[in-house]
């Protein structure tokens, strides 16, 4: 089931542009892809910080398991 969300004209234009450029069949498909890509980036950022902190503390993974 589909529902409606409110976005500004600018965002709507950008979404439409992306949809055409990337060949998505619907906004739903495009937004789903954007969410997954955002989650991947969030995970990689967390991974980077985690590794940096281990290094700073001179700890190995085994030390915290």
């Amino acid at each position: 089931m589909l529902s409606t969300i409110a976005v500004s004209e600018d965002v709507k234009r950008e979404l439409h542009k992306l949809k055409v450029e990337e060949g998505f069949r619907s906004f739903n498909e495009l937004i789903k892809k954007l969410i997954v890509e955002y989650k991947k980036i969030r995970f990689m950022e967390a991974s980077k910080l985690f590794r940096e902190r281990l290094k700073e503390k001179k700890l190995r993974l085994e030390d915290i398991l």
Partner: protein, 163 residues
């Protein structure tokens, strides 16, 4: 969609090395191929390590917990069941996972040797991350090609983030 319970060691291994089997499991959750759950006890165990050993701020902890795309099961849902396993497992977090595995009928993903005992295996299915990936492949839930694509994707992001 297949569901599973994630242990602390899988989360930390995934963050340490996203290309590892643990990393691939978490990634499968992020891209909605599997549904990942864990317990409030595991969440608290993760928090303690991050704050006490790695000096994470509350905001950094919050961001990390969001980043792993795990749904946290509240204590009220499993606390009574957990008490039954006091003689089998010593850690609260491990017992909480076993209780949820029994209640929900879903497997635990863990690298912890405590979960490999016959007593535990009689109560719940336990996979290591590598065994879980093999199980997904054997049951055609994912294909070898998809796994290879995931590894390539992770490599691309690692390069981008300088990991």
């Amino acid at each position: 969609m297949i569901s599973c319970l994630i242990d602390t060691n899988v989360v930390f291994s995934a963050l340490y090395k996203p290309q590892s089997p643990s990393g691939i499991v978490i990634y499968l959750g992020i891209i909605d191929k599997i549904r990942m759950y864990s317990t409030e006890h595991v969440r608290d165990e993760i928090k303690v390590v991050l704050v006490e050993k790695l000096d994470y701020s509350n905001e950094e902890v919050r961001r990390l917990l969001l980043a792993i795309s795990v749904e946290w099961i509240p204590q009220t849902d499993y606390k009574d069941e957990m008490k039954k396993f006091e003689k089998i497992l010593s850690s609260d977090a491990d017992r909480s996972l076993l209780a949820c595995a029994k209640i929900l009928g879903i497997p635990i993903i863990s690298r912890d040797k405590d979960f490999q005992s016959e007593q535990v295996k009689r109560i719940a299915k336990v996979f290591t991350p590598q065994q879980f990936i093999t199980f997904l492949l054997k049951n055609n839930i994912i294909t070898r090609n998809e796994i290879n694509k995931i590894i390539e994707d992770i490599k691309k992001y690692e390069l981008l983030f300088g990991i």
